[in-house]
């Protein structure tokens, strides 16, 4: 196997293209995710943003971004990427196209536009920073919200399970799909690197713990992300050529209660609810183990 691009934290490039002084909340993993991504993609990158928390990074007349940035609306990052790809070719500008949009903008209102770009296999990197709600408008329910989570519009907890967005993207036959979390920066950035190197569209679903929406202390953001992965609730994996492969297998999975009880959004759950969630996760991972942590999802 090829050596990974990054092996340890100190391999991460020092240069920053998202600098300090912006208005994202303390402990925001979404802005951290962008900052890390730009370190890998470098200065020859154009960012497309769909309306959401990150839209408040450039506030006139200042901007914390040292790379070109365009925000048009919430639901059209895919369409903008398509146009940018062709326009940049015409202008002989060689740059990475990075779409950085929230889960509401991706799973819900922008799905059509994203699907259009994926069908055309546009050479762009689409990162969905996933705080599992419509964050900027006050954390309302989205199709990315996990079952049982309360939000400002599901006070009793969401009934439905979250959409399987990576599988939807893989079904477009794009060359690279992955999930990640900034709490695992080496894994995440190696995936960003692969996304940049691949010809065609790459999609990364990035879990970004959100202190405000999820109800935890801003200092705990990285920990919460780790717990999401170590409990097995957020799986880190890649899908290439229709093949899923788990990129991180928690050695001894932590109990989901540790993750759930650390967040306000799950505080209404009964012990029975938590047991049910634990049983579901256990079953999923048992199945994964049986399949050798890798399987085909498409024929």
């Amino acid at each position: 196997m090829k050596d990974p691009y990054l092996k340890k934290l100190t391999d991460i490039p020092m240069e920053d293209y998202l600098v300090g002084g912006h208005v994202a909340c303390q402990g925001c993993s979404a802005s951290l995710g962008l900052r890390l991504t730009l370190k890998v993609l470098g200065k020859d990158t154009i960012v497309i943003n769909g309306s959401g928390c990150m839209t408040l990074l450039p506030v006139y007349p200042t901007t914390p971004l040292r790379v070109p940035w365009i925000h048009l609306a919430i639901e059209n990052s895919g369409a903008a990427g398509t146009a940018l790809y062709y326009a940049l070719r015409r202008k002989n500008i060689d740059a990475n196209i990075l779409a950085y949009a929230g889960d509401g903008a991706t799973y819900d209102i922008g799905l059509q536009s994203l699907s259009g770009a994926a069908e055309k296999n546009i050479d762009m990197i689409y990162i969905c920073y996933n705080n599992q709600s419509f964050g900027n408008t006050g954390h309302q329910r989205a199709s990315s919200t996990p079952r049982a989570s309360s939000t400002s519009t599901t006070p009793l907890g969401k009934v439905e399970v979250a959409k399987d967005m990576p599988a939807i993207m893989a079904a477009h036959r794009i060359p690279y799909v992955a999930t990640a979390c900034p709490s695992y920066p080496i894994d995440f950035l190696n995936k960003v690197k692969k996304a940049a190197e691949v010809k065609g569209m790459a999609f990364i679903d990035l879990l970004v713990p959100c202190p405000v929406g999820w109800g935890f202390d801003p200092a705990e953001g990285i920990n919460i992300g780790r717990l999401a992965v170590r409990t097995g609730l957020w799986k880190l994996y890649e899908i290439t050529d229709g093949k899923v492969s788990i990129s991180y297998i928690p050695k001894k999975r932590k109990r989901v209660s540790e993750y759930l009880s650390a967040q306000g959004r799950f505080s209404h759950l009964s012990e029975g609810d938590i047991r049910r969630i634990q049983a579901e996760v256990d079953q999923e991972w048992d199945e994964l183990e049986e399949r050798g942590y890798g399987y085909e999802i498409m024929v």
Partner: protein, 377 residues
């Protein structure tokens, strides 16, 4: 070298885009516009046109793609109609707010529900507050000319606003008329390449576009309004230059007066219906009646001074609206009244392509002089 061909309004729109050497054409089909993008796709496939044809997943995506591609500094074009234009609404304001000189053709068609395929002006007039220049064409030649001139106007550094060019569905879009097609060399001399300085997405010069403003919002809107005001002179100048080159100046670009000198009764109109109205004016004048017509060519900027100049001495004025704002009235009549500071007779006619015809125009001329709204069925 100029050639003269029998082409449809849709063909004329496509020719305008081709001559302007547009580079990116995001598109989505809708009757009666589709023939425009089909023609362009054929030219690109056969190597007659060097452009990227981007079939998008919706008109919302089309307008988004227009804005994104224009932000990189490419010259962009698209066409739509009716429901398609409605779906673009959110992005129409974004394109204009970002001051991107996008040119788009609308082939007007009444809005659903109920469904109609035929022309009226409610689709384009819904967009009148979106900060786009709006041109209403009266024939196929004007369509071609307006598209080419459109880029020169919109890309002018004192304007930098998008432009919507309207042609009436079927009456123009599907009807063949003789159209003079200027030579490519001539157009290349007339229309320089687009090289924007104000917005450009290029890592060599990083800019953040479409960000958040707080208290400054009103300044941006005021600049947009100033650009719209500036555009009047630019439209007039570009039309004058075009006239020198082709012999066609389309009035002074803003309004087309017809037999106004001694008119006692005048109808204000826009679009292709003006041809039938002209015919009616000729007929009535042959009988000694002092009637005339004023065609509004630009809807935005609204040619207020030109209307006052042309009509201040006219006793009886009527306005034909092929649109309706329920609860208010004819949209154009309302604006004309505001310019003149007095009442006009407002006629709502031709909705969903309902035939008006010379006989009805004759009757309408007989009903001027009252400040009322009348529906002509």
């Amino acid at each position: 070298m100029n050639t003269r061909r029998m082409i449809t309004g849709n063909g004329a729109a496509a020719w305008g885009a081709r001559l302007a050497r547009v580079e990116i054409i995001p598109n989505f089909p809708i009757t009666p516009q589709t023939a425009i993008i089909e023609e362009i796709s054929l030219w690109i496939a056969s190597g007659k046109m060097d452009a990227d044809f981007l079939p998008m997943e919706s008109e919302h995506s089309v307008q988004s793609a227009l804005a994104a591609a224009s932000s990189v500094g490419t010259r962009v074009f698209s066409a739509t109609s009716s429901q398609g234009l409605m779906l673009m609404t959110e992005m129409m304001f974004v394109t204009s707010g970002l001051r991107l000189p996008v040119i788009m053709v609308n082939v007007s068609r009444g809005l659903s529900a109920p469904i109609t395929l035929w022309s009226d002006h409610n689709d384009v007039l819904v967009q009148r507050d979106s900060g786009w220049l709006q041109i209403f064409c009266s024939n196929n030649q004007e369509v071609l000319d307006s598209v080419v001139m459109g880029y020169k106007i919109a890309e002018n550094s004192n304007v930098l606003l998008p432009m919507l060019i309207n042609l009436d569905g079927f009456t123009l879009s599907a009807t063949r008329e003789p159209v003079e097609i200027p030579g490519q060399d001539e157009i290349d001399d007339f229309l320089p390449a687009y090289n924007p300085k104000h917005t450009i997405l290029d890592p060599k010069e990083p800019m953040s576009m479409g960000g958040v403003v707080f208290n400054e919002y009103m300044y941006f809107r005021s600049q947009q309004r100033m650009a719209m005001c500036n555009s009047k002179d630019i439209i007039t100048a570009v039309c004058a230059e075009w006239e020198k080159m082709t012999g066609r100046g389309w009035g002074r670009g803003l309004v087309e007066p017809y037999c106004l000198e001694d008119s006692e009764r005048v109808l204000v109109i826009c679009g292709s219906e003006s041809a039938i109205l002209k015919y009616t004016v000729d007929k009535l004048r042959a009988k000694g009646e002092k009637v005339g017509m004023l065609r509004l060519r630009t809807m935005r900027p609204f040619p207020c001074e030109e209307i006052v100049d042309a009509l201040s001495d006219v006793e009886k004025i009527g306005v034909i609206d092929q649109d309706i704002s329920p609860g208010s009235g004819g949209i154009i009549a309302t604006e004309v009244k505001a310019c003149l500071g007095r009442g006009v007779t407002s006629f709502i006619a031709g909705l969903g392509g309902r035939r008006i015809g010379a006989e009805k125009y004759e009757k309408i001329f007989g009903r001027l002089g009252r400040d009322v709204e009348e529906w002509i069925f």
